[in-house]
């Protein structure tokens, strides 16, 4: 009897949406908490302690030490510079390509595939090509020399940032193009037809219809691009190692080196600072987007 009653209770519970949702969410939430949330919370605590075993609270000491480190300041400004240059470029380029691919074009499907391909190619194999290409004694310099132009130390001068931006764009542009393409195809054709009837010019249509209706997609692409710009470290590390030229010494280089030298205090403090900055930025972006949506409605 009791068994049956429990069974009924369970069935009734399962009929409620929230219970089912909670059950399915719980699984991934546990994994998420175990591998991301809890370690990060612990890291947050460590950043205020003087050591991980029996540490005592030292307030902002670790943050002061971090601030005092010239390499950290360099890394932070490099990361900021890289993001602020590469993100606008990738947005502009992917928007342009999305427009091109949105038209009836020869071999359109092939081109789309070609753009997405870098996303699925393993980084390690590609890095070697980049390395051979941009090395001091590499392909590009050989080419320059045969043209009687003085060769450039691509990875060990201010040019290195440019190289990284190219690598980043090459790697991530496909994804942005697809997102923009979806956004473009979602804009109702009637708007353009109406505009045509009213005699609007091409530029006018683009600014007042395309750009406006693409804005939500744009926000998303910008966010994803920024996140991906932080991940360029993987390519940099593989091309130039843990201590590259200081123009491409990024925050993750700093954190990676701190991790290798077991300096958990500075590492966690740097991570918390970085998360804080991203949090502030993302909150700002989302606030603007919300306002924009209200304006649209």
């Amino acid at each position: 009897m009791t068994n049956k009653r429990y069974w009924h209770k369970l069935i009734r519970l399962l009929r409620k949406d929230w219970a089912v949702a909670a059950f399915f969410l719980a699984l991934s939430l546990i994994g998420f908490a175990l591998f991301y949330l809890i370690p990060f919370a612990m890291g947050f605590l460590y950043s205020f302690q003087d050591r991980t075993v029996d540490g005592s609270f030292v307030g902002l000491d670790n943050y002061m030490a971090l601030q005092a480190s010239a390499s950290f300041r360099k890394a932070a400004s490099n990361t900021f510079l890289f993001t602020s240059i590469s993100v606008p470029i990738i947005i502009a380029l992917s928007l342009l390509f999305a427009h091109l691919l949105n038209q009836k074009l020869f071999a359109r499907n092939w081109l789309q595939t070609a753009f997405v391909l870098p996303l699925v190619v393993p980084v390690a194999s590609i890095v070697m090509i980049w390395q051979i290409f941009f090395d001091w004694n590499g392909t590009l310099n050989a080419l320059l020399q045969s043209l009687h132009v003085e060769r450039i130390d691509w990875m060990k001068s201010d040019w290195s940032m440019g190289v990284l931006i190219i690598v980043y764009i090459w790697k991530n542009i496909g994804y942005s193009i697809i997102l923009f393409l979806a956004g473009l195809q979602n804009i109702p054709k009637d708007y353009y037809e109406t505009a045509d009837i009213e005699g609007a010019g091409k530029l006018h249509k683009w600014i007042h219809i395309t750009l406006v209706y693409l804005t939500p997609t744009m926000f998303f692409v910008i966010l994803i691009s920024i996140i991906n710009s932080f991940k360029v470290f993987r390519e940099t590390y593989l091309i130039a190692g843990g201590y590259p030229h200081d123009r491409i010494y990024m925050l993750q280089h700093y954190m990676n080196n701190m991790f290798l030298s077991l300096d958990v205090q500075k590492l966690t403090a740097a991570a918390v600072l970085m998360v804080g900055c991203i949090l502030v930025f993302v909150t700002g972006m989302l606030a603007i987007e919300r306002r924009f949506r209200n304006f649209m409605e």
């Binding site: 991301y36 050591r51 010239a70 001091w136 991940k231 843990g242 030229h245 200081d246 991790f259």
Partner: protein, 456 residues
């Protein structure tokens, strides 16, 4: 709902991007706040358990030297136990992965402040400068100054004094190898060249080499020494001048001159990277592991050899470097610092130092003197390779004794591949030595990357 979604979305973005960098970890640094209790004589007071003390010594593997020292020490101090904490290794030699694991494990221990009381450093280089920066080790200089029973005259203080880091003595060398030049004295004498090796510089070395080549000496002065290695050797010799805490001066005129000088030595074929038989070169750079080893090498390299200091760079005071083969450091958080210090001194004593001679020249002067006397008494050393017995006399061994007291350049192991500085220098120097970049550009690149490392 939309708001909730956007919050969740934002949260995921933050976490995902944050976690692309490694967070968390198991270890930490140390705090120097544990003030050591001092007794009236200024020596540290120890924590005891029912009158018993235990000193834990962490090491790769306890060899005969440490095992015998433990036995003797415990016999003399019945209330103290010496405990060895060895690194578990599978075979007799460590593979690179095990070396990595060993360094990680020791770093974790040292930086957590929970490790052993003493750390014995031997064949595997540990990032001691990082530990010292974290104030994980005791500055032994204070103990040496305060301890009235410590008589500096008994020891090779030049070795201890020149093992300084960050204005303190954090490691106590027990045994060391010496590095100097052996020269073909007969040939040099025949050519009528005199060498004042206490003051000679690299440019004088180059001039003398040219003279030697012209006057019937060998055309090559040194061989089997790659330019990057020589450069790193010179960086090690001049380390205090090039690196000072968090500032490096690799872009200085001093260093660019050094670079150019090294290159010109190779361009003029005075030094060669390729291997040449030592009998066909004017000099041979070599380590010396003991008085008898000195005699053996003297006979091995040249039929009539002599030992010289390495040429100096700028106003460098000495040209004799040493590398420490056995040394000890004390944990800043040790509860038995007094007893640990006692054990350290015991390891420096004549009784223990004379136990082993394979691991290098002793820090204890009396032991070295006795080794020299024993050799003289013995009269000769048999050299299987030279096929003849070498005479061992007071006169023969005098240069060795002088060199030992002249050794002032500590080779911190800047030649090994684990070291970031030497790796950067080696990598950047290649384009300079092949003539593709100027000395200034090369020095600037080195400075650029080394500064990133030093300022982390």
């Amino acid at each position: 709902m939309r708001k909730a979604m956007s919050i969740l979305f934002m949260f995921i973005i933050v976490i995902v991007s944050a976690c692309s960098a490694p967070t968390g970890g198991q270890t930490s640094s140390n705090n120097p706040n544990n003030a050591t209790a001092l007794s009236e004589e200024g020596m540290p007071l120890d924590e005891t358990k029912g009158g018993k003390k235990t000193v834990v010594v962490s090491m790769l593997a306890a060899d005969d030297f440490y095992l015998q020292a433990k036995q003797k020490y415990e016999a003399q101090h019945p209330n103290t136990t010496i405990q060895f904490k060895e690194f578990p290794a599978e075979g007799a030699t460590l593979n690179p992965a095990e070396v990595e694991r060993y360094i990680k494990q020791i770093s974790t221990e040292v930086l957590s402040g929970k490790g052993a009381d003493l750390y014995a450093v031997s064949t595997i280089p540990l990032p001691i400068d990082k530990y010292v920066n974290k104030k994980a080790f005791v500055n032994l200089e204070e103990l040496i100054k305060r301890d009235k029973t410590f008589d500096p005259n008994l020891y090779q203080m030049n070795i201890i004094e020149n093992s300084r880091m960050n204005n303190g003595i954090y490691t106590l060398p027990l045994q060391f190898y010496m590095e100097a030049l052996f020269g073909d004295a007969a040939n040099i004498g025949n050519a009528g060249v005199t060498i004042d090796d206490k003051n000679w510089t690299w440019s004088e070395f180059a001039e003398i080499s040219k003279k030697l080549a012209d006057k019937g000496g060998h055309s090559v002065s040194l061989a089997n020494w790659a330019p990057e290695l020589l450069l790193n050797n010179l960086v090690s010799d001049n380390y205090p001048k090039l690196v000072n805490g968090q500032t490096a001066s690799f872009d200085s005129a001093f260093f660019t001159d050094l670079l150019k000088q090294v290159k010109s030595l190779y361009d003029n074929n005075i030094i060669k990277s390729e291997n040449v038989d030592s009998k066909k070169t004017n000099f041979t750079y070599s380590i010396i592991t003991s008085p008898s080893d000195y005699l053996l090498r003297l006979g091995l390299y040249y039929s009539n050899g002599k030992i010289y200091q390495k040429p100096h760079s700028a106003d460098q005071q000495s040209g004799v470097s040493f590398s420490v083969t056995r040394e000890l450091a004390m944990n800043a958080n040790s509860k038995v610092k007094g007893e640990a210090w006692n054990f350290m001194k015991f390891l420096m004593s004549e009784e223990i130092q004379s136990l082993t001679k394979e691991n290098g020249i002793s820090i204890n002067k009396a032991v070295n003197d006795k080794a020299v006397q024993d050799l003289v008494k013995q009269g000769s050393v048999n050299n299987p390779k030279a096929g003849k017995a070498l005479e061992a006399s007071e006169e023969n061994l005098q240069p060795f004794k002088e060199m030992v007291s002249e050794a002032r350049l500590r080779d911190y192991g800047y030649n090994d591949e684990h070291n970031k500085l030497s790796a950067i220098i080696t990598e950047e120097a290649k384009a300079f030595f092949t003539g593709q970049k100027t000395a200034e550009a090369t020095a600037k690149l080195m400075q650029n990357r080394i500064m990133s490392y030093l300022n982390e």
